[in-house]
Symmetry: C2
Subunit: 116 residues, 2 copies
DNA sequence: TTGATTGTTCGATAGTTTTTGAACTGTTGT
DNA sequence: ACAACAGTTCAAAAACTATCGAACAATCAA
């Protein structure tokens, strides 16, 4: 596969970041990366086709919100916290703190039970 | 004209607010409202047709970012700071602080001079 | 009443975004 | 070599968005 492109810190655009965060799926991806750390596509609890997820990851990557590294056949994605905090202090924290789980919140916050 | 609709504080959606802020024109409008207080359309230094501006004000209004009141033939627009701070603490401040003037910055920060 | 002003709404066009299945690239394991 | 797997890219449809001129409504001033 082609190398994935990431903007340099100084090229991260505020409007592009806000736009990327304005989609329910993408905001949920960012939420999960924030709470669960580095994740690959398959690890996400998001109901969508893989081509759809790939599209949203691309938007997040090209906006500068996430960094994707290849390891074997997987892509590990992580938030670019340092770059975002440097460019837009307080923004990421405010967004994450103000957001709510979009899908199957029980699976994300509760431990598995006998009924699970 | 029909009464302008504003969402109640509890109905303000994070993704709608982020989307509204992700447009250069709209972010500039918010910037100017933040620094200059209540303004009507004509008071803005934004190069666009009035129907375009009206559209952007509508998006901002319906997302809950601004409040528009009619007085005579003018509409005065202001930021819904209290509502936004209550719903999304720190978000508006972070966005405004991270943003930069979009158009003719000289006109917004400098006093008129003999050459102006 | 006439005309200027403030802003909304309509209609049209052009461009963008979302979503998906299918095809594809590359990796891992057998 | 072969199949399973992770993820991207392509192509296409549907939906949405931005932009503008024109028409419109409402106010104000002469």
């Amino acid at each position: 596969m082609r190398p994935l492109s990431h903007p340099a810190r100084e090229d991260i655009s505020l409007t592009a970041v806000l736009y990327a965060l304005s989609d329910t799926y993408r905001l949920e991806i960012v939420r999960q990366l924030a709470s669960r750390g580095e994740l690959n596509c398959s690890a996400l609890d998001i109901p969508a086709a893989k081509s759809t997820l790939s599209h949203h990851f691309k938007v997040l990557r090209e906006s500068g919100l996430i960094y994707s590294r290849s390891e074997g056949r997987e892509h590990y994605n992580s938030l670019r916290r340092d770059d975002l905090d440097a460019r837009f202090p307080g923004l990421l924290a405010a967004v994450i703190q103000s957001s709510e789980p979009a899908f199957t919140p029980a699976l994300l916050t509760e431990k598995p039970s006998a009924q699970g």
